[in-house]
Amino acid sequence: MPTAHAGPDEDRADARFHALADRTRRDILRRVLVGEHSVSALAASYDMSFASVQKHVAVLERAGLLSKRRNGREQRAHGEVDAVRSIASMLAELEDVWRGRVARIDDLIADGRQRGEE
């Protein structure tokens, strides 16, 4: 029987953590999140063979963290910003924290006499 934590989301998480468990792949991802890079330009950035870099790119691609497109003879890679925990979603979480604080200030000032009650 599947456990509570089985399912496609967990599989995807496994693939992502695996992809990110390697220093070179994290570095590649950082670069392609900033802008599109050709795979050959990426390969030139590392002290390893083109094939090795290509392999790393493929792992990131399978994890959904990176996508490739063909531009003439060139393979170009870009990061999947949405897949990476985005700044936008983090600010949204922070907004929720703040909304909670503001609501609590409101409660506190509305009922100052019964401070501490909840």
Binding site: R85, I87, A88, S89, M90, L91, A92, E93, L94, E95, D96, V97, W98, R99, G100, R101, V102, A103, R104, I105, D106, D107, L108, I109, A110, G112, R115, G116, E118
Partner: protein, 162 residues
């Protein structure tokens, strides 16, 4: 809901919350000047904050810890940079290693500016927090609010649901 506006600036990693309260500026200031009141609003339900030092003067500091539902403590500090009672205060907020409140070296601090203005019938408060990097933002969410567990908006919703 007294929140009237929220802006997220993705480039400067800044969140600005504007809220209006039906109380004078001095009353809102008190919430921040009195650590016992501040404790009631700072941490989400189930994740209370305890301020063990609270010196609201320029150059002063506040030391606090937040206690997770499992009883684990996360230590933090404020370095107060400016105080204009009861109109505004600015401070850096960072993570401390333990109950000595020594700042954790590699973790960046956030810059916070709170402004309270008198309006008809109460106070308009503008809370601005600026983070150094995406990592800093993530740390705040993970260590200060959701205890290092990969967070989701759902979890936070549950935490902040009054």
């Amino acid at each position: 809901m007294p929140v009237i506006d929220v802006t997220h600036d993705l480039d400067t990693l800044t969140i600005t919350i504007t809220a209006e309260f039906a109380a004078p500026v001095e009353r809102i200031w008190q919430v921040y000047a009195d650590p016992r009141q501040l404790e009631q609003v700072f941490g989400p339900p189930g994740y209370p904050a305890t301020f063990v030092e609270h010196d609201l003067i320029p150059g002063g500091s506040a030391h606090y810890f937040m206690t997770s539902p499992e009883g684990e403590r996360h230590y933090g500090f404020w370095r107060i940079t400016s105080v204009d009672e009861p109109h505004s205060l600015a401070f850096e907020d960072g993570f401390a290693a333990d109950d000595t409140f020594t700042p954790v070296k590699d973790l960046p601090v956030s810059q916070n500016v709170y402004v309270f203005e008198a309006i008809d019938g109460g106070t308009r408060a503008t809370f601005t927090a600026t983070y150094d990097s995406a990592e800093a933002l993530q740390k705040v969410l993970e260590m200060g609010v959701v205890d290092g567990v990969a967070s989701s908006i759902d979890q936070i919703d549950t935490l902040v649901a009054a």
